[in-house]
C-alpha cells in the first residue's frame, strides 16, 4: 500500500488567523494521516500553534469534516473558529 507523504494546505480564518499571525501554511504529513494528525502538527510546530484548540472545527475541501477523516494529497484543510453565520 502506498504510504508516501501527503502535501496539504492549511488555511486559518478570522480569530485563528489572528492568533497564529498567518492565514495559510503548507504541511507535509505521512501517508494515511487523518485530520487529527494535521491539527496536532499545526498545534506543535507552528509559532503560537498551541493557541488553536485541540479539537477545532475543520473543513476539508470546503466541507465540514470529522477528526478521523483520512487526508489525501492536495487536500485543503480549513481551521474554522466558532461559527457566526446568518
Amino acid at each position: 500500500m502506498p504510504t508516501e507523504s501527503l502535501h496539504v494546505r492549511c488555511r486559518f480564518f478570522a480569530r485563528y488567523a489572528e492568533l497564529l499571525g498567518t492565514e495559510e501554511v503548507a504541511l507535509t504529513l505521512p501517508g494515511r494521516s487523518i485530520v487529527r494528525d494535521a491539527v496536532r502538527r499545526v498545534r506543535q510546530e507552528l509559532p503560537h500553534g498551541e493557541r488553536i484548540p485541540e479539537r477545532p472545527l475543520v473543513a476539508v475541501n470546503r466541507e465540514h469534516a470529522l477528526a478521523d477523516r483520512p487526508l489525501a494529497n492536495g487536500d485543503e484543510l480549513a481551521f474554522l473558529p466558532p461559527l457566526a453565520g446568518g
Binding site: 480549513a78 474554522l80 446568518g86
Partner: protein, 153 residues
C-alpha cells in the same frame, strides 16, 4: 436559483430573491432576513465586518439549498449571504422559499435558515467606537480581535 449569487458584498435585495423563486404553481412564499442587530448590552458598535471562507460559504449554502429541495421537492429556494462591512440594521442573510402551500414554504425556509446558522463558515467582527474590535459567535460569545485594519468604513 442560478442567476442569484449565494455570496455578495452588496446589499441584499429581498425583491430579487422573491422574484427568483416565484412560479405559477407556488401559492405560498416565505422569506427570512437575518439582520445585524444591536442587542441591549452591545455597547457602541459602529459597524460589523462579516468575514468568511468564501469558497466554502458559497458551496455550503448551495448544498443547504439542494438539501432543502430534496426534502420539499416542490419547493423553490433562493439563498444569499452578504460579507464585508454591513451597517447595523441591514440584512446579512436571506432565504426565500416558494412552494405550492404555505406549510411547506414555512417549514422549508425554517430548515434552510437553521442549517445556515449551524454550518456556514462566517465570522462576525464588531468594531467599537473606541477603535477596538471583538469577534462575536452565534452562541453570544465575544473574543477580542486585533485592530489589524483601519477603523474607517
Amino acid at each position: 436559483m442560478a442567476d442569484l449569487p449565494a455570496v455578495t458584498r452588496d446589499p441584499i435585495d429581498a425583491g430579487r430573491l422573491l422574484a427568483a423563486v416565484a412560479a405559477p404553481a407556488c401559492g405560498g412564499t416565505a422569506l427570512f432576513l437575518g439582520t445585524v442587530r444591536a442587542g441591549p448590552d452591545d455597547g457602541p458598535v459602529i459597524r460589523i465586518q462579516y468575514e468568511a471562507y468564501v469558497e466554502m460559504l458559497e458551496a455550503e449554502f448551495l448544498r443547504i439549498a439542494a438539501e432543502t429541495t430534496a426534502r420539499w421537492v416542490d419547493a423553490r429556494v433562493a439563498v444569499q449571504h452578504r460579507v464585508g462591512g454591513i451597517p447595523l440594521g441591514e440584512p446579512s442573510i436571506a432565504v426565500a422559499v416558494a412552494a405550492p402551500h404555505r406549510a411547506e414554504a414555512f417549514a422549508a425556509c425554517r430548515f434552510a435558515v437553521d442549517e445556515a446558522k449551524r454550518r456556514l463558515p462566517v465570522w462576525k467582527r464588531e468594531v467599537l467606537a473606541d477603535g477596538t474590535a471583538q469577534w462575536r459567535d452565534n452562541a453570544g460569545g465575544r473574543t477580542p480581535s486585533r485592530p489589524s485594519e483601519p477603523s474607517g468604513a
